[in-house]
């Protein structure tokens, strides 16, 4: 899947992952896709919750190992 921007969020967890996603997506245009790489398994619960709260669309989740995940988040239309 193509993405307009990437966020390498290795080592980020509950404390700072979604705040960093928020920061990354804030400078993007509506409907653009942000690709997020993260290695915290709990993010598989947290990132979907953040998307439900904010209205951005989690269009794909790829579990690439036991802990590593790629999230593709499409920015909502304002």
């Amino acid at each position: 899947m193509n993405a307009d921007k990437e966020l390498k969020a290795s080592g980020m967890a509950c404390i700072n992952l979604t705040p960093n996603i928020k920061q990354a997506i804030s400078s993007m245009q509506s409907s653009e896709v942000l690709k997020v790489f993260n290695d915290d398994p709990a993010a598989r619960e947290g990132v979907p919750a953040w998307c439900r709260l904010t209205g951005h669309s989690l269009i794909e989740t790829k579990e690439i190992s036991q802990t590593e995940t790629l999230f593709y988040i499409q920015k909502k239309i304002n």
């Binding site: 928020k22 919750a49 709260l53």
Partner: protein, 120 residues
Amino acid sequence: MSQPLLFHCTHGKEEAEKAILPFIVGNVAVTADQQATIFLTAEGVRLVTKGYAEQVKKEGFTPLKEIMDSFIANGGKIWACGACTKPRGITDADIIEGAKIVTAANLVELLAGGAISCTV
């Protein structure tokens, strides 16, 4: 956006983890487009005095100052309980921009208006 969220914080640097945690959750809330207020009581009121947050650190956690700055920048409110600031000699002149000293009536108003309170 749903109901406002209220996070209660009662600790200062003597219990850094307990001081930082409400700000972590509060910061996640505001960066998820939620309204959030952190209500400081007891030793927690010292967190918003100038130069204090810089001293609150715990291994494995982002320093409090960094989280607090993000929380404020994303629209979070920090209220310090007036009943707790007064005996500690803390006045408006002592606290950082983005925080304010309030009364119990402000807290009651927020809760009566539907805010959800959480202790972390």
